[in-house]
């Protein structure tokens, strides 16, 4: 469902510290599969995720979502696609401090304009499924690592996206929590969602639920499983 053709991305273009994070990636990602991007830090795997997830535009090359070329879209439309198609779980979860968990979960849906009551019911429903209902009114900064991640997952799912993107999801978790995360991933896969993750945690790369591992080094793809 997602196709990348010769995708390149430069930072600080035209300046003395110009740096190419991606140097030509060709990739097809199937719908409904779990894919892990692996590689040392600086290999470009996070940058690749931002291209795939419509967070940023490639400097050159094409990104197709289904049949649509999203690589030259203005931010306005990219945002709409991102909001409806992708959900993000960030490495340090990036919950907004000072807001309650349920408010954090609702944030991505604010620009959509759902009535408040329905939106809140949906958020509570998601928190329930992730066993976080009792923490709904707690402030985001009071959560433990595992709880914060589940809150972040609920936030990523609030707009019912087809693709969930997770950046180093187990980096801040112990083994028990990591296992719990992988079981959530398995559940989401059963729902028919596509999952994309970066990780250098072998526990993730070798998990049974993972269909494909893509390895990157210096902005290039080196092997694929």
């Amino acid at each position: 469902m997602i196709r990348l053709t010769d995708v390149r991305k430069a930072f600080n273009q035209g300046r003395h510290n110009e740096f190419w994070a991606l140097k030509g990636i060709d990739l097809r990602l199937a719908a409904g599969a779990v894919t892990v991007f692996r590689g040392p830090s600086g290999s470009g795997k996070t940058t690749l995720l931002t291209m795939v997830g419509a967070l940023a535009r490639p400097t050159s090359g094409r990104v197709h979502l289904e049949e649509r070329d999203i690589s030259a879209m203005p931010e306005r439309f990219l945002t709409e696609i991102r909001r409806s198609t992708f959900g993000f779980v960030f490495q340090n979860f990036n919950l907004i401090k000072g807001l309650s968990v349920v408010e954090n979960v609702m944030i991505p849906a604010y620009p959509v304009g759902l009535p408040h009551g329905r939106l809140k019911a949906r958020a509570m429903d998601l928190l329930e499924r992730l066993e976080m209902a009792d923490k709904a009114e707690a402030r985001a900064e009071w959560l433990s690592g595992g709880e914060a991640q589940r809150a972040a997952i609920a936030r990523a799912l609030i707009n019912d996206p087809r693709v969930l993107i997770a950046d180093e999801p187990t980096a801040n978790l112990d083994s028990e929590r990591s296992a719990q995360f992988l079981s959530i991933v398995a559940g989401l896969k059963r729902d028919g969602r596509t999952l994309l993750m970066t990780s250098h945690d072998p526990m993730v790369a070798e998990a049974a639920v993972v269909d494909r591992v893509v390895s990157l080094r210096d902005g290039r793809q080196v092997e694929a499983r």
Partner: protein, 378 residues
């Protein structure tokens, strides 16, 4: 407008309010300075408008045409014979002589305005006094006040009562006496008046009538009420404008302050905007959010500042302007202005405060809103 649009605005407003609440310290500081700016400007405007309004109240009852005799370019007593000449001009309804002047009272070190009222003058030997006079001389009805006449002899007045009028500014220093007492005090001979006032039958003819009087009595000067009004208006407008220009430094400083506050985003705030954008907010959503925050602050500050300014001017007698007032006349400090609010003035004040704030924050808001959405992943 659809329901979706409305609930979107509601969500944004909710989020804006909670976002302001989360940075209470910073925003309260901004709010305080903003309110102060509105307060000072509102006080200046309300005060000068109230004075202008007051002047208009005073002039409402004043005669349409005043005729003064000039000798060598200076104001002199006018002979009663002129009265007949003026009454003879077509279009003049009535004309009468007035007696008034100023009296310096060494006991109070103050100037009073002595007048012989046109109707119901006090009986000879008695006087009606304004509240200011009563206050400085600590006089109550029945008390006796004495002054030196022009020839050095003492003239005594029994206070018959004090004056209450809707405009304290006018009546505070008034001292009303009978015609006989006035002439004795100042040595004004019979058949002479301070000036002559005339009323005109048709208000549209005032100018023509004035020209005719001028032609008939070449040794006089004619003052029209409309001219006084116009002069007052432009003088007060000018003063107010001058003050605003002086205060524009303060507005500019405030604009710079607002700019700095708006662009000095904390790392936490930048992170927050990055998160919003990453999870699906668009640049214009963030701009709208920040604009809403600015509007909440602006409206709060404007309302608070205006109410404070109103209380300051109308309920506490503008204590911050008292020094300026004291230079005007000793008797005036304790008057209370008639509350008077004017739409144009509110609109202008809004322009002077909210507009600069908004302009100063546009670029910082845009900068903040165009944070890269992928920065939270870096």
């Amino acid at each position: 407008m659809t329901a979706g649009w409305i609930s979107r605005q509601r969500h944004l407003l909710d989020f804006a309010l909670s976002s302001l609440g989360r940075r209470r310290g910073k925003n309260l500081g901004l709010l305080a300075v903003y309110t102060l700016v509105v307060f000072v400007l509102a006080s200046v405007m309300l005060f000068s408008h109230a004075i202008r309004h007051e002047a208009r109240l005073v002039l409402k009852d004043s005669p349409e045409v005043v005729v003064q005799k000039l000798v060598a370019g200076r104001h002199d007593l006018i002979p009663a014979g002129h009265l007949e000449a003026i009454r003879g001009v077509r279009g003049v309804r009535a004309a009468e002589g007035r007696l008034w002047g100023y009296l310096f009272d060494p006991a109070a070190a103050a100037n009073y305005t002595l007048m012989v009222p046109r109707d119901q003058p006090p009986a000879p030997g008695t006087a009606l006094i304004g509240s200011g006079v009563a206050a400085v001389r600590d006089a109550a009805p029945g008390d006796t006040l004495s002054f030196r006449a022009h020839d050095g002899q003492l003239v005594q007045f029994t206070v018959a009562g004090t004056l209450e009028r809707d405009s304290a500014l006018v009546s505070a220093d008034l001292f009303l006496v009978s015609e006989a007492d006035f002439r004795r005090l100042f040595g004004v001979p019979e058949g002479r008046f301070t000036d002559i006032v005339a009323s005109v039958r048709n208000p549209r003819e005032i100018r023509t009538v004035a020209e005719k009087i001028d032609a008939a009595l070449p040794d006089t000067r004619i003052i029209l009420r409309d001219e006084i009004l116009r002069t007052y208006d432009s003088v007060f407008d000018w003063r107010e404008g001058m003050l605003l220009v002086l205060l524009s430094g303060a507005i500019l400083a405030f604009g710079i302050f607002a700019w700095e506050k708006a662009s000095g985003l904390s790392a936490e705030e930048r992170r927050e905007i990055g998160i919003l954008k990453a999870v699906g907010w668009e640049t214009s959503d963030v701009i709208r959010l920040k604009t809403l925050e600015g509007m909440v602050i602006s409206l709060t500050a404007f309302l608070a500042g205006y109410v404070l300014g109103y209380l300051h001017v109308f309920h506490f007698g503008a204590p911050l302007f008292e020094p300026v007032l004291k230079g005007w006349a000793v008797l005036y400090p304790d008057f209370r202005l008639t509350p008077f609010v004017d739409e144009l003035q509110v609109a202008t004040l809004f322009f002077f405060t909210v507009f600069p704030y908004t302009v100063a924050t546009v670029v910082p808001i845009w900068r903040a809103a165009t944070v890269d959405p992928d920065q939270v992943m870096r």
